[in-house]
Symmetry: C2
Subunit: 454 residues, 2 copies
């Protein structure tokens, strides 16, 4: 199906238009709000990756691939090892996504996991400045999200993990910008990316889910490096009959790739998760935290809790009494219980130890959840009935982390510190945060990267 | 659409069945004809790769990626460099396919280019025997071709380059066999392969076409190495609703993957090209060579030539007067002219020099080609009218290189020598051929690999 009016998809020429936009973009034309958003995304990304750096998924990938690492060009975040930039991009892409705590564009894709690992590695190796990195990052996200939305949601519904399939374009575009590719080379970089585009949703629940953004980071970076040396691809990889859009979707709309390009920036629609579980339970967690704070709520005073939620919540997170930390992430009951007991719902509250505690299990058993199809994804209602008969209520219309109610910079710092507390010392964490907030002042991104080492 | 009768695709469990077959297969159960075919495929593959080792496509990939090579674990064929095994698999996969002179399964896929580069590199590094390598190769091709045919031709028609999309499974299966993965690990290797499956036909005519088998070799090898260390994927990557078969095709037939598994071997249906151009013109080249040989045909004696060919020939190779070597490959006129003048149609006859020669151009102008839709793909008719008025004819029903009329071992040796003449010295070429023919006697494949170095 062709959404372009009076123009065939093949005539659209969007690969070249996108390439030209990326090549010709000047840093000074970026809105300052978008540049600031980049710092927020970087703080969030590095916190997630460093916090997950010793996860089994990362350890197993390291064990398998370290024998093939090249020169130690770039840092593996939150670990002591260094690697060639292609492997650093892969491993850091995996660790950024493995907790599923990384950023989310409000419509689709985890934007940073495929892009930042690729260009941080390249920038560290080639000593690019913070301004150059931020510029490349903003443009990479722009390419990635626009290409994703040109096939979304049908492409995702069919079974493609869009963070992988679109992420590879983001990495290629961003790395290509750092490498100062010309327009023809940039079309090749996008083409070499297109022909590597992959990642199946069947892998959700396995280690391959976080492999996808890592693989996209590595493949996109390689695409830009190959294009730089003259390795050719089709220059019409997005719109051609046998190109990405038409082969990997039946609802490709090329106009999405170029409409208002340079006017609206997709990074400004980026969201960060305050809680270490699925977005659909964020509203009721937020409500429980507010009730706890306003009413000094304690578990022992509670007779029962009732939540009213949107249609997906019980389907995705309906486990009443989870047995493991991972199951806890798929239990709206557990998420609400820890919010009330601990005043938090971070990685620590989704450990197997906490999941198995009797006070948490008791509170979970007092919670009832009712689905109301009119409740929106980031909305929720919580009513607590106390043993003394009082009833207290909270309605959250836009959960913390939504575009309407974003995490503050302080919230993002707190999340970063919580994720990295056992890994970085306070001095390094402070310095790293300071460099992230002031990244556009850095002459060489390598100084920031060295602070991610343990 | 579901071709399985009375059984849903998701119930098919073919990923596990295929994994189990590969894991449990014993070398001694392979038919001896299949083991011999492996040597023929290896001679053909190494000849193509060594002959193309200095092609721009290979040079540009080397220039871009050499800065990231790890330890020199494996030889880059036909060159002096060594690389880590993942990069060796990539580069050798590119060089095997770049001339489009490598092997072709009679229905679909270039079987060797994604598989042999992966397992030769692994076998060289870990010092596996020739028997282990051949066993892994046969099974890798089996997995690759069966998975390809489970979605062919719809998957290819939609725009997927099936040598890339199916090749990654072949590399993973073969490397996994060498690594002695257990059944669960083998299902993971196939899953990590599935989620990397990629390659768009839009790239035909660019350097990315030969990137596809290289990328498949590298990705499949990484998949097996990761699975060995416990990196998990879905164990139902082929048949699941959001797995390879249903996401990347609308005509997936899982039964093709397991029917008569271990009874018929797909490698026995492998074909080798005698001529350095598309298969569709092989029959008329063969006819011209026969006429030249039988009648001592000389260009200066010819008044005109008429060929009758199948329906695709003019569409694919209709350039009447090509200007470059590459255009020469897409000219049935040129292919016939060089066959008559040189008695050969190898790489040398498709050089730009030969294409521009006046005697060749003159003969091309005397050739007329007529399409007859009843003529089969590997069939052709040639009639030559001599200046003395005589008319001589040849009908080729199955061109040299077809399954009905395969290249002999001597033909394959001649092709190998012709491709490698300017690169290997005669002594090394002789030794290399001897080791290929006797590969199952080798204790360590590394000795053969070292002979591919210059």
């Amino acid at each position: 199906m062709n959404h372009l009016q009076g123009m065939s998809m093949e005539d659209a020429d969007v690969t070249r238009q996108l390439a030209q936009f990326i090549v010709e973009s000047k840093f000074d034309t970026l809105p300052s709000s978008v540049v600031k958003e980049a710092s927020r995304a970087i703080v969030n990304c590095l916190g997630c990756a460093i916090g997950a750096a010793q996860h089994d998924t990362v350890n197993f990938a390291m064990a398998a691939l370290a024998p093939f690492f090249g020169s130690p060009q770039a840092q593996i975040w939150g670990r002591s090892e260094r690697a060639d930039i292609l492997h650093a991009a892969l491993i850091n892409g995996i660790s950024t996504h493995v907790l599923d705590f990384d950023d989310t564009h409000f419509r689709a894709v985890h934007p940073s996991a495929p892009v930042l690992p690729a260009i941080f590695a390249l920038a560290e190796w080639r000593q690019f400045s913070g301004k150059e990195l931020v510029h490349a990052y903003v443009l990479g996200v722009e390419a990635e999200i626009r290409i994703a939305l040109s096939v979304f949601p049908e492409h995702y519904d069919r079974g493609w993990h869009i963070t992988g399939t679109a992420g590879v374009f983001g990495a290629a575009a961003a790395a290509g910008k750092l490498l100062k590719l010309n327009v023809e080379q940039m079309t090749w970089a996008l083409g070499i990316a297109a022909t590597q585009s992959s990642g199946l949703r069947e892998m959700f629940g396995t280690m391959c889910k976080s492999f996808h953004p890592g693989h996209a980071a590595q493949g996109g970076l390689a695409a830009a490096l190959m294009a730089e040396k003259g390795f050719t691809s089709s220059t019409r990889a997005l719109e051609a009959k046998r190109g990405f859009g038409q082969v990997m979707s039946s609802r490709f709309d090329p106009s999405v790739i170029t409409n208002a390009l340079g006017v609206e920036y997709e990074l400004s629609k980026n969201m960060y998760k305050p809680f270490a579980c699925g977005l659909v339970v964020h509203a009721v967690i937020d409500a429980c935290l507010q009730l706890r704070h306003q009413h000094h709520l304690k578990a022992e005073d509670i007779a029962s809790v009732k939540a009213t939620v949107g249609p997906l919540v019980l389907e995705l997170t309906g486990i009443k009494q989870p047995k493991t930390g991972l199951e806890g992430k798929f239990s709206v009951y557990h998420a609400m219980a820890v919010a009330i007991i601990y005043g938090a719902a971070g990685e620590a509250q989704f450990s197997s130890e906490v999941v198995c505690q009797s006070d948490v299990a008791n509170l979970r058993s007092l919670i009832e959840v009712e689905v109301d199809p009119t409740v929106r994804k980031l909305e929720g209602y919580v009513t607590v009935i106390l043993k003394d008969g009082r009833e207290i209520k909270c309605h959250v219309s836009d959960a913390l982390g939504s575009l309407a109610h974003p995490m503050s910079n302080q919230d993002l710092e707190d999340k970063f510190r919580s994720l990295t507390a056992n890994i970085l010392n306070t001095k390094d964490a402070n310095q790293l945060l300071e460099q992230c907030w002031n990244i556009t002042q850095l002459d060489d991104v390598g100084s920031l990267m060295r602070l991610t080492s343990i």
